[in-house]
């Protein structure tokens, strides 16, 4: 076994690999760029080597710099993680030449799977199902109909030179195929001056399901079942799970066996992933093979109990796989939510800055499952603009899918991240979405269910009542503490009442609290009641309660006579008032937010260092517009709301006074 390995990566995956290496008693070497000087993976590794400036193109993906670090530290093997050099044939070859083990597949396999057309041909030859289609020329409409019916409807008729939806038709029968062929051809000729047409199978209700394979250097190849990764936003995976709620055992076995066949065909070793697109009838078609450890590998680890990184290292060291296909069973269900530093309320704009608070949920076994969080950041750390915005992968495991989802809901609600925008509320909204919980998902889920982006969710009536009961009980605790202040009048202290009105999400709940030593019973006017117990105390930002015996977790902050609360993708202001105060509060006028100016004004006297946008640009709320230097400090001015830049008045180098107009918006 290796004594020392180098991890040619950063962030959560570097930390992930270091953890396993440490468990195996292997020393680790981290590499880091300027921006990562204080990064988590650097602190976790036994040694760290600086490899250059912040941009990855000048550090993490420069083969020579990694090779230099390998030589300098005497590492015997390199784990590439994902991204960066993980699928770079040249890198694998350079390591081979230097006699250093690459913890991944042979460079030949990387090469063969690296090209979409080549990989598809190899897959076809290996008996892997690929999207059926006709690449040759089509004579006329009748020919088109004949080919289409051979492929099987529905089919997609496409212009060879096509793009942007032009010259594209979907046909469900012969008539439509004839018509579609003709209109596609005409449109293609008009649009591209090239009327060549081809036909392929149209995959309806597509899902992205992939098979994890693992091979050793002794010819053993197994599959570790599938992962469903259909929840994607613009091809970026957001939520993954294993197993898929859609596959039956026969399909799973067929996909697994084909994936192994493909791996065998290219002499694959180490961990790899064969991606398939699966239609509504469980027909599956090969997409591509990723010749590396996949981001979402933890869900596979959670249902199989296999540490994939450990097996990758053992395989690279020449050890045989310790299990056979028949040993690999699916145990329970695992979910993964990717935490991105992207602000869902600002159209998922990347958000950078200081993580003023970062408290993931406690990892390890819970009452009914397991929580795991693969992370590469820490509280007080900086999220920089140089790298992938994914900062953590929160995973849960439980015996069933429904339970794994419930574990995930609680884990998401327990995850505290402040200082940057992030997608936790969005993940929570997906977990509560009825279509997601039903398992009826496709790759179009986010586009279909959140067509206008994300503006937060509303709590369902049942949750809302539970929240109202919890807030009433919490408020009572806070108010009682206020009465315990020093300097009160003897014998005339304030008595905290039992009657309260909780106003949240536009609804008012009149409640009566019966408190005892162990908690509170909160009575509603309709005669129902909720039992609230908790050790929450004022000032705690994370409130963990039991309402009628089941967990309710929310992030709370104090606002005047109430709380700001965040849970289940909702971000709400709630007020808890005495009945009289609630009555008087109704007299307050609703105020419309003031019209913020159409100008970006200079907030201080200073020098314009740079302007980040130009006239005509569309800007998102929070986007950086310009940088002004004052008192030798660079201050980034950001858009207060969405808009379009009409005119930029200030140029870099200009010296501005307070309230000078930097730019105007439409």
């Amino acid at each position: 076994m290796f004594k020392k390995i180098l991890i040619a990566n950063r962030g959560e995956i570097a930390c992930r690999v270091i953890k396993t290496a440490r468990k195996m008693g292997i020393a680790t070497v981290a590499v880091y760029s300027d921006a990562d000087r204080d990064a988590l993976h650097v602190g976790m590794a036994d040694e760290a080597v600086h490899i250059g400036p912040s941009p990855a193109a000048q550090s993490y993906i420069v083969i020579e710099k990694i090779m230099q670090a390998v030589r300098q530290t005497g590492a015997e093997a390199v784990h590439p993680g994902y991204g960066f050099l993980s699928e770079n044939r040249g890198f694998a070859a350079a390591l081979e030449a230097a006699g250093v083990a690459f913890i991944g597949p042979p460079s030949s396999a990387i090469e063969q799977m690296g090209d979409k057309i080549t990989s598809k041909k190899i897959a076809q030859a290996a008996g892997v199902s690929t999207v059926p289609g006709h690449m040759g020329l089509i004579d006329d409409a009748d020919h088109a109909a004949k080919i289409a019916s051979q492929i099987g409807y529905p089919v997609m008729i496409k212009a060879s030179a096509g793009g942007g939806g032009k010259g594209m038709r979907i046909a469900w029968n012969d008539t439509e195929a004839r018509e579609g062929f003709q209109s596609s051809k005409n449109e293609a000729a008009a649009s591209f001056g090239d009327d060549r047409i081809f036909i392929e199978k149209f995959v309806t209700q597509p899902r992205h399901i992939e098979i994890q394979v693992l091979g050793d250097q002794h010819g053993n190849i197994v599959y570790l079942h599938e992962r469903e990764c259909s929840i994607q936003r613009r091809n970026q995976k957001v939520i993954e799970e294993a197993p898929s709620p859609f596959l039956d055992p026969a399909t799973r076995r067929a996909m697994g066996e084909q994936a192994c066949a493909l791996a065998r065909a290219v002499g694959y070793t180490s961990a790899g992933t064969v991606e398939f697109i699966v239609d509504g009838q469980r027909n599956f078609y090969f997409l591509e093979m990723n010749t590396r450890l996949q981001v979402e590998h933890p869900v596979t680890e959670l249902i199989t109990g296999v540490d994939l990184v450990e097996q990758m290292i053992r395989v690279a060291a020449g050890q045989p796989l310790p299990f056979a296909q028949s040993d690999l069973k699916i145990n329970g269900w695992a979910m993964e939510s990717r935490l991105y530093a992207e602000d869902p309320y600002r159209n998922f704009l990347p958000s950078i800055g200081r993580l003023t608070r970062y408290r993931p949920p406690v990892e390890g076994p819970t009452a009914n499952g397991v929580v795991r969080n693969d992370t590469g950041v820490f509280e007080g750390g900086e999220i920089s603009m140089f790298y992938d915005p994914m900062i953590a992968k929160l995973c849960t495991w439980a015996p069933t899918r429904a339970e794994a989802i419930e574990e995930m809901r609680i884990a998401l609600d327990s995850f505290e991240v402040e200082g940057i925008g992030h997608n936790l509320p969005f993940c929570a909204a997906v977990m509560d979405h009825p279509r997601f919980t039903s398992g009826n998902i496709t790759t179009a889920f986010i586009a279909e269910e959140f067509p206008d982006g994300f503006t937060g969710t509303t709590l369902d009536p049942v949750t809302l009542r539970r929240v109202a009961a919890a807030l009433a009980a919490m408020n009572r605790v806070a108010e009682i503490r206020r009465t315990r202040i020093s300097g009160t009048m003897d014998n005339h202290t304030r008595k905290v009442g039992d009657d309260w009105v909780v106003t949240v999400q536009g609804e008012s709940f009149v409640v009566k609290i019966a408190a005892d030593r162990d908690g509170s019973t909160v009575h509603f006017p309709d005669g129902s009641h909720h039992r609230v117990t908790s050790d929450w105390h004022p000032g705690q930002p994370l409130a963990k309660l039991l309402v009628d015996g089941t967990a309710l977790v929310m992030k709370v902050a104090k606002i005047p006579s109430g709380f700001r609360l965040r849970l289940r993708g909702a971000d709400l202001k709630a007020h808890v008032r005495s009945p009289r105060a609630a009555e008087l509060a109704l007299l307050m006028l609703e105020k419309t937010p003031p019209d913020t100016s159409r100008f970006l004004l200079c907030p201080m006297p200073g020098l314009v260092v740079s302007v980040a946008v130009a006239a005509g640009d569309e800007v998102q709320e929070g986007q950086a517009l310009a940088t002004v230097e004052a008192m030798k400090m660079e201050n980034i001015l950001r858009a207060e709301r969405r808009g379009v830049v009409k005119l930029v008045n200030a140029k870099p180098g200009a010296s501005l006074r307070v309230d000078d107009v930097i730019m105007e918006f439409e």
Partner: protein
């Protein structure tokens, strides 16, 4: 007998109606509460004890004798806020527009006298059309009596003014002399002369809101200390402020049970100071991470944002915080920030509230406008305020402490009790670049030499150890243990007694 008792009930009932249902509806339609409703929300439920409910005015001119409403447009009395005694007056706009008569003024004076005698804060709720013109000079005299009491109560009991409607003309000078002024957005304004007079005299056209609304006074004039969305929120936040304040100048600040470990370690503070010395960071993160439960009541949050002032608790006890804010103007001192902080320091000192000073100051703001507007005199106010303070004081230098501003910001030389510095602190006369430009003027043509000189200066002075060697810094502390260190420091100062030489009063550079 029964008749006599019911007569009292009838008279009370009439008095409680104020200006009657029609005027109350008009008040409500503006989103404003009535005087009695405001008092209800300000005080603990059922704790209000009213004075002078049946007082009526004595004016007979201009037909005034036809109407003598009980209470005369102001509701006065005392009650409790979370069990602690406060005195309160609330002008009733529904009764003669809340105008101030001789008797109206006398009612306010009565509770102010009792507040000073019994050592409890005075909370004034202002919603008044101004002087009662029919009474002439008697009305002015009433204002004068109130002003005089504001002055005498100053520094004896906390005085808080809530502006919840108009407050114009001479009337503004009573709130102006109180410790804190809170306004309600869109429904309150304060000015000495209104838009009409301004138009006549200077030809400036301005709305009441622009001239003296909550936004103007919290952002531009600094007359007000905070602005709130509506009456209900303003009253709730006033209760919250009172929880921070001592009842009078003979009492210690209040203590209440807390749920936060005084020894709490904050590893994230070790990375608060950016590697680049010219990059700002948010000082408020430090304040909320030091405070019990992250609870911070900021005063003048929207004005002179290069300095932060407000109240936190440490081990349950109130502490006033003064902190430079590197996010705004690099945290420099200037006229506005000096005035803002000086007034806050003097309030804390007057009421025995310990002061925590967090320092990251590159110096005083240079500029013609600053000099011509008197930064010398205004900057001196903060220096003076820190210099005369005798309350327990702890100072933490996080980064820059340059030049005269270093001395001003509660340095050891101004009798601060504990002066801590983070390892990132740089205590020097100025930044290295500026220093080299003066010290080695003749070598400025040689960039290599200059760079070397700058590096040398940084090496020598851009650290806390030179000051620590001289004892100007008591200890260099780890950022992550700052809460524990300052909690222990303040705990050790609970018995502090320090007096200044006898004087009639001081002569702060006003």
């Amino acid at each position: 007998m029964h008749d006599i008792l019911s007569q009292l009930e009838a008279r009370r009932s009439t008095a409680r109606q104020g200006g009657g249902a029609r005027r109350i509806s008009a008040q409500h339609a503006k989103g404003k509460l009535t005087a009695r409703e405001r008092i209800e929300l300000l005080l603990d439920e059922g704790s209000f004890e009213e004075f002078d409910m049946f007082v009526t005015h004595r004016c007979t001119d201009f037909g005034m004798d036809a109407e003598r409403p009980a209470g005369d447009g102001v509701v006065t009395g005392w009650g409790t806020v979370n069990g602690r005694m406060v005195y309160v007056f609330a002008q009733d706009f529904t009764v003669m527009g809340g105008s101030v008569s001789e008797t109206h003024g006398a009612k306010i004076c009565k509770i102010m006298d009792m507040a000073v005698q019994n050592g409890a804060p005075v909370i004034g709720i202002n919603d008044s059309g101004g002087a009662r013109i029919q009474e002439g000079v008697a009305s002015l005299a009433a204002y004068g009596e109130v002003f005089q009491r504001n002055v005498l109560a100053s520094g004896v009991v906390p005085q808080i003014s809530l502006i919840m409607g108009p407050c114009a003309g001479g009337a503004v000078y009573s709130p102006a002399m109180t410790d804190f002024i809170f306004m309600v957005k869109d429904s309150s304004y304060m000015f000495v002369t209104g838009p009409d007079v301004v138009k006549t005299v200077t030809n400036e056209v301005v709305t009441a809101e622009d001239l003296g609304g909550a936004s103007t006074h919290t952002k531009k004039s600094s007359v007000a200390d905070a602005a709130f969305e509506n009456d209900v929120e303003a009253l709730a936040e006033t209760r919250r402020l009172i929880d921070f304040l001592p009842l009078n100048n003979r009492e210690k600040p209040p203590v209440r049970p807390f749920f936060d470990d005084p020894a709490r370690i904050e590893p994230s503070l070790d990375t608060l100071i950016p590697a680049n010395p010219n990059q700002p960071y948010d000082m408020k993160e430090l304040i909320t991470k030091l405070a019990d439960e992250g609870d911070f009541f900021e005063i003048q949050a929207a004005f002179a944002c290069n300095i932060i002032t407000g109240f936190i608790r440490l081990e349950g006890q109130t502490v006033g915080v003064v902190a430079n804010q590197p996010m705004v103007l690099a945290g420099c001192l200037d006229i506005d920030s000096s005035r803002k902080a000086a007034r806050f320091v003097r309030f804390c000192d007057a009421f025995e509230i310990p002061i925590l000073t967090l320092v990251d100051v590159p110096g005083f703001l240079p500029g013609v406008a600053q000099e011509h507007d008197g930064v010398i005199k205004h900057g001196a106010k903060l220096l003076y305020a820190f210099g005369e303070a005798t309350v327990p004081r702890v100072t933490v230098i996080t980064r820059k402490a340059y030049g005269g501003a270093y001395v001003v910001m509660a340095s050891k030389h101004l009798r601060a009790d504990f002066n801590y510095a983070w390892p990132t602190a740089e205590i020097a006369v100025m930044g290295a670049k500026g220093a080299v430009e003066i010290l080695y003027r003749s070598e400025l043509g040689d960039p290599e030499k200059t760079a070397q000189r700058t590096a040398d200066y940084e090496q020598r002075f851009a650290n806390p150890f030179v000051a620590a060697e001289k004892g100007f810094v008591d200890e260099v502390i780890m950022p992550h243990s700052t809460r524990r260190r300052i909690c222990r420091a303040f705990a050790s100062l609970r018995g502090k007694k320090q007096t200044n030489p006898w004087k009639k009063h001081d002569n702060i550079p006003l």
